[in-house]
């Protein structure tokens, strides 16, 4: 059972100088290594995990990814809020505006809609956890690219926080992998 908390995990700030970032941030909203993909991946894989540590890790990191999904959405929302269609078009969001206006939509930075084909869920817990480790690294690398592409101090701070969380998740998944391996070798 889930309960919604009406606050962000980290204060999402934008100085509104970098509208182009709204399009690029869609990479982490619903791209292949996005927060949405991470949440669906972990929250789907958790059921067949063999240890309580692994079930808890996937449940709680999957839940945190939903909180990150909300932060990315907040950044995009704040960037495009009240911006004219012409300006959106200049920032590369013309196609998005035509189809969705200023509403959010789960697509990637190039407009490709989200698909569950971005993730796998396997009964083999080692296979899952290896995928999860890779997913965290890809998300970290994506955040590093986004940070390089931005000149908005608020966005950079928020993305740096999210990048750091991927590093922590990678660490926890590594520990979980060891626990599951020990369990399977018993």
């Amino acid at each position: 059972m889930w309960s919604y908390q009406k606050y962000l995990q980290y204060p999402a700030k934008v100085s509104k100088t970098d509208l182009e970032m709204a399009k690029l941030l869609y990479a982490q909203y619903a791209g292949p290594d996005s927060e949405l993909g991470a949440a669906v991946r972990y929250l789907t894989q958790r059921y067949t995990m063999p240890t309580d540590e692994a079930k808890a890790t996937l449940t709680d990191i999957g839940t945190e990814e939903l909180a990150h999904w909300e932060i990315i959405a907040t950044l995009i929302y704040k960037l495009v809020n009240g911006v004219s269609p012409k300006k959106l078009q200049q920032a590369g969001l013309g196609a998005h505006y035509a189809q969705h206006g200023r509403a959010l939509y789960p697509h990637d930075a190039a407009g490709v809609p989200f698909t569950a084909a971005y993730l796998q869920s396997h009964e083999d817990p080692i296979a899952n956890l290896q995928e999860d480790l890779a997913a965290e690294e890809k998300a970290r690398a994506t955040y590093e690219n986004l940070i390089e592409l931005s000149n908005d101090q608020g966005i950079i701070e928020t993305l740096s926080f999210l990048r750091e969380r991927e590093v922590v998740h990678f660490q926890r998944f590594g520990e979980t992998l060891n626990i599951v391996r020990d369990h399977l070798n018993k």
């Binding site: 059972m1 059921y47 309580d52 808890a56 709680d60």
Partner: protein, 84 residues
């Protein structure tokens, strides 16, 4: 899970559902005083039941104080409980 624990858990599930129903209703009827009073009553009951359950059987969430060692991860997972 003992019959006693399961029955307390089912009570929590029922109260949580009632709270949600009033939550949804009140979102579109914020000035319905009668519904609001019921919501507040159920919220309080739910809080008390959750407190009692977690004191006895361990955490339902990772925002509840824990005995040593960490209890949250090893309490029953919802998809492994037999609800009969």
């Amino acid at each position: 899970m003992t019959a006693e624990q399961l029955s307390l858990l089912k009570e929590i599930m029922a109260y949580r559902f009632s709270v949600l129903e009033f939550n949804l209703y009140l979102n579109t009827h914020p000035r319905d005083r009668g519904a609001l009073e019921k919501y507040n009553k159920y919220v309080k009951e739910l809080r008390d039941l959750c407190f009692e359950y977690q004191k006895k059987y361990g955490p339902l969430t990772a925002t509840f104080p824990s005995e040593f060692p960490w209890e949250y991860y090893s309490t029953p997972w919802p998809w492994q409980i037999n609800y009969d």
